[in-house]
């Protein structure tokens, strides 16, 4: 940690009586506490300066303090404290979310529907984290997997294919339905697998490339997918309607457990008909994100995860240690694609539609921003980045904009500058904290020290 603070900081602090040795003599818990308190104090002062002082600021500071100050990993079971607290905050959201007081600047707490989107994007960001965070491959076309997942839901849980007639456990069918209707639970899995296969197909020719070249090719695939979606209503001129063109596929079935489960197990028969529609989607999203986190952690600590990290650190050495580069990278790609696909299918089911306009290139960048902002390679960082940016996208920016306009008597449409603002955020993060807000320790070290990046062996031998 010491390395990160530049000598200039220490010169300024030294003048105030806090020299580096004196600081380092303190116990780590104390140092952490002081740092956190300072940040919270600065935050409070800023809030006070902007004249939006609210009692909620205290509560917020207290929560931040409680979560960050103590060294939970020193207490038995302490490492579970923060995850369980975060889980509790999300699971209980439907009960307290609407009754929370307004926050300074950011305004009201997000609606449940926004929280659902935040969680879905967390899942996508965690998927991208396999590729970018673990294996260190820059993927600018992740939206392709999201689109693939969404269209899988469109194909197998809607009236899209008029000549077909198949029902496997679907809920909420209207009389006169056509097409494939498979229960969303199965469709999620199918979407994941299909997307993983697409990931492998895209990966095999492209993963031989390194760095920038890979980024450009993935960028291309990210552009191809929405174009196919947009023009897929008359496939190869045969009149076969695959994607329903710009109109998109809608409506898509909602998730549900059917009438039998509702009677006997008190599970909701059909989410779309339920009164607490958003809460059901919220809880299901929590389960899906939970599964993603679980897989992320298990894989990170496995033989495969070590191989990914080794490739990220030094490809040549990794190959010389017997790691098959192509296969290992392709696994990272497929795993990332899987979760992107599941998240896409779930989102399509939530929105009850898959529309080509949702799959623009900017979504790829958006998800990449989440990973970078939160901290590449760190599960909690990525989730934080995803929740924060998804929140800004759906509500936060509009609220902040309204606050800004009313306080500075301007008339800006802030959400219009959305991607400019994200750009600024990313530039600032890359300049001052390249490892992200909540970094993985390893990644932080790499970004401050640099890694080997010398040309690999002859490209023609790179195949595996």
């Amino acid at each position: 940690m010491r390395r990160r603070i530049s000598p200039y900081w220490w010169r300024a602090l030294g003048a105030a009586g806090l020299t580096q040795p004196r600081w380092l003599a303190l116990s780590p818990t104390k140092r952490r506490a002081i740092k956190t308190t300072t940040w919270v104090a600065i935050l409070l002062i800023l809030i006070a300066l902007f004249g939006v002082w609210k009692a909620t600021a205290f509560a917020l500071a207290a929560v931040i303090g409680l979560l960050i100050v103590p060294a939970w990993n020193r207490i038995p079971y302490g490492k579970f404290f923060v995850p369980v607290a975060v889980l509790g905050i999300f699971v209980c959201y439907p009960w307290y979310g609407a009754s929370m007081p307004q926050l300074p600047i950011f305004g009201p707490f997000p609606q449940q529907s926004t929280v659902v989107v935040m969680l879905i994007f967390s899942m996508m960001a965690l998927g991208l984290n396999f590729v970018v965070g673990y294996a260190g491959l820059l993927d600018l076309g992740y939206v392709a997997f999201y689109a693939m997942g969404a269209y899988m839901a469109g194909w197998f849980a809607s009236n899209q294919f008029a000549k077909q007639h198949l029902d496997i456990g679907a809920v909420g069918l209207f009389p006169g339905w056509t097409g494939y209707h498979i229960t969303i639970w199965l469709v999620l899995l199918m979407a994941g697998i299909a997307t993983a296969i697409i990931g492998v197909i895209i990966g095999l020719p492209t993963l031989r490339l390194r760095g920038d070249y890979l980024a450009i090719v993935t960028l291309g695939f990210g552009e191809i997918m929405p174009q196919v979606a947009r023009n897929g209503d008359n496939l190869f001129g045969t009149g076969f309607n695959l994607t329903n063109g710009t109109g998109g596929i809608t409506p898509i079935d909602g998730p549900g457990f059917g009438n039998w489960a509702q009677h006997n197990l008190h599970l909701p028969a059909n989410y779309l008909n339920a009164a607490n529609f958003d809460s059901l989607f919220l809880w299901t999203a929590i389960v899906l994100v939970g599964i993603t986190i679980f897989c992320s952690m298990r894989l990170r600590d496995s033989r495969l995860g070590r191989a990914w990290i080794a490739i990220r650190e030094d490809e040549t050495a990794a190959a010389a240690m017997g790691i098959p580069l192509m296969r290992t990278k392709t696994w990272a790609y497929a795993t990332g694609a899987f979760f992107g696909g599941v998240a896409g299918a779930y989102y399509a089911s939530y929105k009850s539609g898959a529309f080509p306009d949702d799959f623009f290139f900017n979504i790829s960048v958006f998800i990449l921003c989440m990973v970078i902002l939160g901290g590449m390679g760190n599960i909690w960082g990525v989730i934080f980045g995803a929740c924060f940016l998804a929140y800004l996208d759906r509500e936060g920016l509009a609220n902040v904009g309204a606050w800004f306009n009313s306080h500075f008597h301007t008339n800006l449409n802030v959400p219009l500058y959305e991607f400019g603002i994200y750009g600024v955020i990313i530039v600032v993060v890359m300049l001052f904290r390249p490892e992200g807000l909540i970094p993985s320790q390893r990644r932080a070290a790499e970004l401050h020290e640099g890694v080997h990046d010398e040309p690999l062996y002859d490209t023609e031998t790179a195949g595996a």
Partner: protein, 261 residues
């Protein structure tokens, strides 16, 4: 040679117009320590890189343990039993010493993606065994107690030893060491030489060494091969090489040969 572990036939590498290795025939007999020497720029490391699949030869073949390895990817070489270290240390700088060794074991472990997620008893046992074995290897290479140290925080000598531990973790039949004693002091070098000899005897290894330090080369090698301008100019026991005129010429210049004869 009847029992050659590694054999190259007319192995050639050109970089554009530059011939880095000119039709080199070369063998490493099973259970022996062979040194590859030559002046700077003689093509030793290029040769090494062809023996590990990092470079693709322009022409010629590499045979290892009775199998033709030409044009296979690097991991296939490791899989069949060639472990290597690098001239300029290439550890995974931000992984711990233990993790570095565990990466080396990659080819000898089997756990796949699905088993890793479910964490089957087999994978759990395998991981535990791998960790124990990795600790043993670290201890063998004089790195006891350094398990949790991040690669780049190790001292230079420790980093060199960790590279050897990582290469041994691949369970090689042939260990390729690229200037392993560079930057070591005489005592460390002597220890290292003994260590290599001991490895060969205890672990049934063959060793191929690129080395500049003649005490190491003459002390430990069974056979020595000399490259100059990409060509093999001599081969033989250390004693033969010391007397070989072409070798002396390559190292000291033609005038030196005239004086000594």
């Amino acid at each position: 040679m009847p029992d050659a572990l590694l054999e190259t036939q007319q192995l050639r590498k050109e970089f554009g117009g530059l011939v880095a290795n000119d039709d080199v025939d070369f063998t490493v007999p099973r259970g022996s320590i062979v040194s590859l020497i030559g002046p700077n720029g003689a093509g030793k490391t290029t040769f090494f890189n062809m023996l590990t699949g990092v470079y693709r030869p322009t022409a010629g073949d590499v045979w290892f343990d009775g199998e033709r390895m030409t044009n296979k990817p690097p991991h296939a070489y490791t899989q069949r039993g060639i472990g290597r270290t690098f001239q300029n240390i290439r550890l995974f700088q931000n992984m711990t010493a233990l993790e570095n060794v565990l990466v080396g074991m990659h080819v000898r472990l089997k756990g796949n993606l699905f088993e890793a997620i479910v964490r089957t008893p087999r994978v759990r046992r395998e991981e535990q065994g791998a960790r124990e074995h990795a600790r043993e290897l670290l201890a063998l290479c004089n790195l006891r107690g350094r398990d949790a140290v991040i690669g780049r925080n190790l001292s230079y000598g420790d980093q060199r030893r960790l590279e050897v531990a990582r290469a041994l973790a691949t369970q090689p039949k042939l260990l390729l060491l690229d200037e392993p004693t560079a930057g070591m002091n005489p005592q460390e070098t002597a220890e290292f030489t003994d260590f290599v000899a001991k490895l060969r005897d205890d672990r049934d290894l063959s060793v191929l060494l690129i080395e500049h330090d003649m005490r190491v080369v003459m002390g430990v090698s069974d056979r020595v091969t000399v490259l100059d301008y990409g060509e093999k100019i001599a081969e033989g026991t250390p004693q033969e090489i010391q007397k070989n005129e072409r070798v002396i010429e390559a190292y000291l210049g033609a005038a030196a040969v005239g004086h000594s004869s």
